[in-house]
């Protein structure tokens, strides 16, 4: 029992986490012939909250048909609560030496028990403006590309879809530009 509790608190290696994430694809098909993907829920949430007088057509549909998908992301948040609060790992993220040196070079403090850096997430007008703006990029981009990491990298590649290959080239290209060129300047 103690071993199980300790294991639930510890971080999981990639060869445990990856296959479980991959199993989401057949799991969603087996439950109700659904395609695994997270970002479409952002659209459903817009469809729920858009006032009738605004009326952008893209959000005029019966979102109740997608209740299953909204239940999945409510579960995702619940899983986050269990893993991050109930079975929280008190240890800082164990980064590679190269990454530690890069952070030091950027002037970031080393990870200290949180998944995200205080430099970017502690409440301030500057940080929250930046987080909101990056959120806009994520929301806009995922809908434009009709999918995110789950829908394209996992589901799309698992089912051998060419559009997902294009999307991943874009995603990885954008990520490289951001993390090599923009992040080092972000806090200066």
């Amino acid at each position: 029992m103690d071993t199980l509790i300790a294991w639930l608190h510890a971080p999981w290696p990639w060869y445990v986490a990856g296959p479980i994430i991959g199993l989401m694809v057949p799991m969603m098909l087996f439950i109700g012939n659904r395609s695994f993907g997270v970002s479409s829920n952002l659209r459903h949430l817009c469809a729920i909250t858009q006032p009738p007088q605004v009326g952008v057509d893209f959000f005029k549909y019966d979102w109740k048909e997608h209740t299953w998908s909204l239940m999945f992301v409510i579960g995702t948040a619940l899983g986050g609560f269990l893993a991050g609060v109930v079975f929280a790992n008190p240890e800082p993220v164990k980064l590679s030496l190269a990454a530690q040196m890069m952070l030091a070079h950027w002037g970031f403090t080393q990870p200290a028990g949180n998944l995200v850096p205080e430099e970017l997430f502690h409440p301030s007008v500057r940080n929250y403006t930046l987080l909101f703006a990056c959120g806009v990029l994520v929301g806009f981009g995922t809908r434009y590309a009709a999918g995110c990491t789950s829908g394209h990298a996992i589901t799309g590649l698992s089912t051998l879809q060419l559009p997902s290959v294009y999307a991943i080239l874009g995603i990885f290209g954008g990520g490289l530009i951001a993390s090599w060129l923009l992040v080092p300047w972000m806090l200066k």
Binding site: L95, S96, G141, L157
Partner: protein, 139 residues
């Protein structure tokens, strides 16, 4: 409500794994984009391999019915190129900057992170903006 329980449970497992594997960590995402650790690539590659293998098994099954009784069909994406690359690029910029893609946003909101909630608010506005502008965008 009972028919939604399997989705809730699958989502819970997904969110749990995203936090436990630190895929929802800004640090891990920077490490990945700088090719400094195999961890995130290991997660992505093994997830894709598992998904691919499962799809091949499903294709070879005789009677393919889901729990809800509908036949299982392998999903396919509408053809296209520009929207996938351009959208991916914009999303990738956001992901590389704040280290959160949509799954981890929801998982991190669950941990009580106020910052993640701000990202979610931004993502909803971005999604709405796309909906409002989509007729004017190349697809």
């Amino acid at each position: 409500m009972r028919r939604y329980l399997p989705y809730l449970l699958a989502g819970t497992l997904f969110g749990f794994v995203l936090i436990k594997s630190e895929a929802a960590s800004w640090y891990r995402i920077q490490e990945m984009f700088h090719f400094q650790n195999f961890h995130m690539f290991g997660i992505l590659f093994s997830a894709i391999a598992t998904g691919m293998l499962s799809i091949q098994i499903i294709k070879r099954m005789g009677d393919r019915r889901s729990l809800e009784g509908v036949p299982i069909e392998i999903p396919s994406k509408p053809p296209g190129k520009v929207s996938y690359i351009a959208g991916g690029l914009i999303f990738g910029l956001g992901w590389g900057l704040i280290g959160l893609c949509p799954g981890p946003i929801f998982a991190l909101v669950g941990t009580g992170s106020l910052g993640a909630l701000v990202v979610l608010a931004g993502a909803l506005h971005g999604t709405w903006l796309y909906g409002a502008l989509r007729q004017h965008l190349p697809h």
